[in-house]
């Protein structure tokens, strides 16, 4: 008997049918991957399973028994646990408080903090999920935070663990550790439902795969018997063209467009975040930046784009220092889409304008005209230019940001995590756009935690560790093993 069974789930949001009669069964102790394009209905399905959404039709069976799901409380009671992509932790509370909240141990009515800490340590020991119970969650790196979420589910004796895009924000090392943990818990008889856009993970870690498209199931596979191509076809209805992204031989030459000289940034939260970094990027090349989270890439890129003033050193663009605030010669695609790259409540047209508002005489018509042109040229799928950008799917929002930044002829392109949370189809288009920018003779600086992305796109990869560049690898040299070693500080 399956541990969980979803039967005929249909869920509508207004006119959108997010889930359309979906059946899904999860066996005890298996890792079951759910894949599909942006907006295919994966998160909705998980939310239904976890009681966040009530389905318009269909129901959920747990060990063969039909569940009454009015809220996540019912799901938790039935032994389900969920790890959301945007982590649902309380930043102001400690690890122990975060784990036990909602099911707190008490002694004579008073919180038993000691018991909570003991429990966190015991579970951590058992599943290899170490975290300091007394640490405030807001101060922890994202990988550790995710562990806290898993701990929380396990503390509640979850037998079915739902993870929505858990690796999207993890470094490769953190992701590897996560899969170790997942294999550990399945060994204990826990079932795992894994939503992801990374087919590599699916093939490496899962037992079975269900593919969604447009709210329906378009494929069910045993992982051992399928291939990436087969999955892609089920997901997007065609296969991806094999693409030579970095045509070898044509090495960019000439002077550096971007020169970073001995840049030092002392962080507010820790010691020096960037300690004396120098490098350059030429026109016509893509330089990758790799490194585990917190190695200083974020701060370095803030300096390069002019958003942050370095404590020491300087950044030159075409021989002139980058302007403070934001240099208009830099196209910049930040990682944080709702926080920095877009204003979620503003319309798509207004979002597409930012940076170009002073280029021409401002008028409403001109703003819309510009937006329409960009949407067409970059293939952004949107129902209306006037709706808030927040209604766009992740992939489309990302394409809109790229459209805005790559339009015009800014010579330097700085991109962070361009394909995070973006489906494979959109990933392909985004990669093509970056390659095109390079071919137009721009200098591209690409930061990504997706090593495959770096290896496919970058001419050179700079590896950062603890605020310094510890290795520079050419595209040929950059194997996963060498990159991985350099990122952990082992000489590369």
């Amino acid at each position: 008997m399956p541990a969980v069974e979803l039967v005929g789930i249909t869920k509508r949001f207004g006119d959108v049918v997010a889930n359309d009669g979906i059946d899904l069964s999860i066996e005890t102790g298996e890792i079951h991957a759910v894949v599909g394009e942006n907006g295919a209905g994966k998160s909705t399905l998980m939310s239904v399973m976890y009681g966040v959404h009530q389905p318009d039709a269909g129901h959920v069976l747990r060990d063969g028994v039909r569940l009454r799901m009015r809220s996540p409380a019912d799901a938790i009671a039935a032994g389900l646990g969920m790890v959301h992509q945007r982590l649902r932790l309380f930043p102001g509370l400690t690890v122990a408080e975060n784990v036990v909240i909602g099911a707190e141990p008490t002694r004579r009515g008073v919180l038993d903090t000691a018991a909570a800490s003991r429990e966190v340590e015991r579970l951590g020991e058992l599943y290899g999920l170490r975290a300091d119970p007394a640490a405030r969650v807001g101060t922890l790196p994202v990988g550790v935070r995710q562990r806290v979420e898993i701990l929380r589910a396990l503390y509640r004796r979850a037998r079915v663990l739902i993870l929505d895009e858990p690796t999207a924000v993890l470094t490769p090392g953190e992701a590897a550790r996560l899969f170790e943990v997942l294999r550990g818990v399945t060994g204990e008889g826990v079932s795992v439902v894994l939503v992801t856009h990374k087919l590599g993970e699916v093939l490496a870690a899962s037992n079975r795969v269900t593919v969604l498209r447009g709210g329906r199931v378009t494929g069910r596979f045993a992982t051992a018997e399928t291939t990436a191509q087969e999955l892609v076809v089920a997901m997007i209805g065609r296969s991806l063209a094999p693409r030579p992204l970095a045509p070898p031989g044509e090495r960019a030459a000439g002077p550096y467009l971007l020169e970073v000289e001995n840049v030092r940034v002392r962080g507010g939260e820790g010691p020096a975040r960037v300690g004396g970094v120098s490098f350059g990027v030429r026109r016509g090349e893509i330089v990758g930046i790799a490194g585990v989270a917190g190695s200083g890439q974020r701060e370095l890129l803030d300096v390069v784009t002019g958003l942050r003033t370095p404590d020491e050193g300087r950044v030159l663009l075409a021989g002139a220092p980058v302007r403070r605030g934001r240099d208009p010669r830099v196209a910049y695609v930040p990682e944080d889409r709702p926080g920095r790259a877009t204003a979620p409540t503003m319309s798509l047209a207004d979002n597409l304008l930012m940076g170009g508002q002073r280029e021409r005489r401002f008028s409403r018509a001109a703003v819309r005209e510009r937006a329409r042109a960009l949407v067409e040229r970059f293939g952004v799928r949107a129902a209306s230019l006037d709706e808030p950008i927040s209604v766009l799917s992740g992939g489309n929002a990302q394409k809109a940001v790229l459209a805005r930044e790559l339009s015009g002829d800014r010579p330097l392109v700085v991109v962070e995590e361009p394909t995070q949370g973006v489906d494979v189809g959109a990933q392909e288009q985004i990669h093509a756009l970056l390659a095109q920018a390079r071919d137009e003779g721009r200098a591209v600086l690409l930061q990504s935690s997706e090593l495959s992305e770096l290896r496919a796109l970058a001419d050179r990869i700079l590896v950062m560790f603890e605020g310094a560049i510890v290795a520079e690898l050419s595209a040929e040299e950059a194997g996963e093993d060498r990159l991985g070693a350099a990122m952990t500080g082992a000489a590369g």
Partner: protein, 297 residues
Amino acid sequence: MNVVDLALVSATLTASAPVVFAALGGLLCQTAGVFNMALEGQLLWGAFSGVLFSHLTGSAWLGVVGAVVTTAVYALALSVPAVAFRADPVVVAVGVNLLALGLTAFLMRVLLGAGGVYTSPDLPGLPTFAKLGLDVPVLGPQSPLVPLAPLLVAVTAWWLARTRSGLRLRGVGGHPEAALSLGLGADRYRHVAVLGAGALCGLGGAQLALGNVTLFSEGMSAGRGWVAVVAVMLGGAWPWPVLAACLLFGAAEAFGFRLQGLGLPQQAADAAPYVITLLALVVAAATRGRRRLLEAS
């Protein structure tokens, strides 16, 4: 003339007590993630209903009970739109404050038959400790609600830190979606926090109208609710610092009165508490770092 003496301490406590109650309410709401800017109106309603029920029942303590209950009910005017309907709490608060101003003045005319000020020798006020037989300095001239204010601060501090519901309230305020995914309905906690703030403002209003004085006058909250809003921010929504902020304001006000006696113009005394509070805020912000303050807002 002495500028600092025990009477000043006493005056500080008197001036602060209503503000402390209101600020404690604001703190609860802030912790639960609702920005409560309606303290001014609720304090006013608390003062009015305290006098009304004291008048109707002939007992000041029943007046306090009436104030606590009806101000909690009045807080529904904030909690239903802002929590249940997700309306902007700032907008709702502006309406709630105006409504309180109009309602109390209107009902005062209609129910108490007085405009402007309602006072009567028959209106029972809260007893002072002196009247209860405890004629000591500082506390003697105060009503029992005055020491209750810091006591409630202590209870709140303990409750937030050490109890199940306190922990959950902190969680709910910090990240409502997270609470939801644990099956902890954020709304329930928020409603309770807003209504609790109402009850506290009822206490504060009752202390103002039946403790500090024994009468109701139109608009008698006179900005004390706004001071409470500031105190919540100045104290970073932590119980003890919020209490300290309220006391600072009360002391500045009492001290301003003294300065008047020394010949400073009345306008300087009027401005003093605000200027001193702002300076304290600047110093606190400069030392604490800007991040925390913005978070607290």
